[in-house]
Subunit: 142 residues, 2 copies
């Protein structure tokens, strides 16, 4: 497992949206935007249902995610983080994780999911393999 550097951890915990790429059965890319958080050196995302992206991961674990920042690098390019890694689907825990992430992504104290008894859902757990994009965590070539 790759340790997640501190500058990458900051981005992953900043409440910025992650563009998550999974692979469809025919190998084509599927993209959705998700909330993310950290548990140790895994990136986690919560889901209430067995959505298409989770089925994709169960068949092919290769994923990528990208997060856009509002800072510029020294030559004026927008900084962003790309993580390539392997993901797995954990049954249960999705609703609790969404509640924890909602405090970061919506506001402290918000109730989310906004229902009395949400299904327990699923947690997508991503083990990072490399970091790229534009930023202090990336090679100069990007």
């Amino acid at each position: 497992m790759v340790r997640i550097p501190d500058d990458v951890r900051s981005v992953l915990e900043s409440g910025r949206l992650a563009h998550l790429v999974t692979l469809n059965a025919d190998g084509s890319p599927q993209v959705t935007i998700v909330w993310v958080g950290l548990e140790g050196d895994e990136i986690v995302a919560g889901h209430l249902g067995m959505f298409h992206k989770l089925k994709n991961v169960q068949r092919d674990s290769r994923v990528a995610l990208s997060i856009e920042l509002d800072t510029l690098n020294p030559i004026g390019l927008t900084e962003y983080l790309v993580v390539n890694g392997r993901a797995r689907v954990q049954e249960g825990g999705g609703a609790e994780l969404l509640q924890r992430l909602a405090y970061v992504y919506i506001s402290p104290g918000v109730k989310f999911p906004p229902m009395d008894k949400p299904p327990s859902g699923y947690v997508l757990r991503i083990t990072p393999e490399r970091f790229g994009g534009v930023g202090s965590w990336a090679n100069p070539i990007g």
Copy 2:
């Protein structure tokens, strides 16, 4: 060829960054952030060199791109556009396109690329096949 609806055209011409997904030789996803524009019903991006993403497209034309907005849909989710399509690489025209897009992405009147004689580069031309994400252009299920 799919016609690009007006609401999608607005997003693609808004100066927001596009997260572009191409497929590596081993089928894994590669993500970079690019500037995009429209030429008729094609989405275009300019590049000065034969970068990894362009080589990927020459081998496998399947791409996806996603663009994050700062608007919320009626139930409070951030709106975003996802385009799935096929891309091809056109030789030449990259520098001119980057100059045109720089007026949108940086500022009117800026000189870009910031060099006297940039290489002519390449244009990535994406033919959209379907639109998704969260927004007026997407099915309710997203």
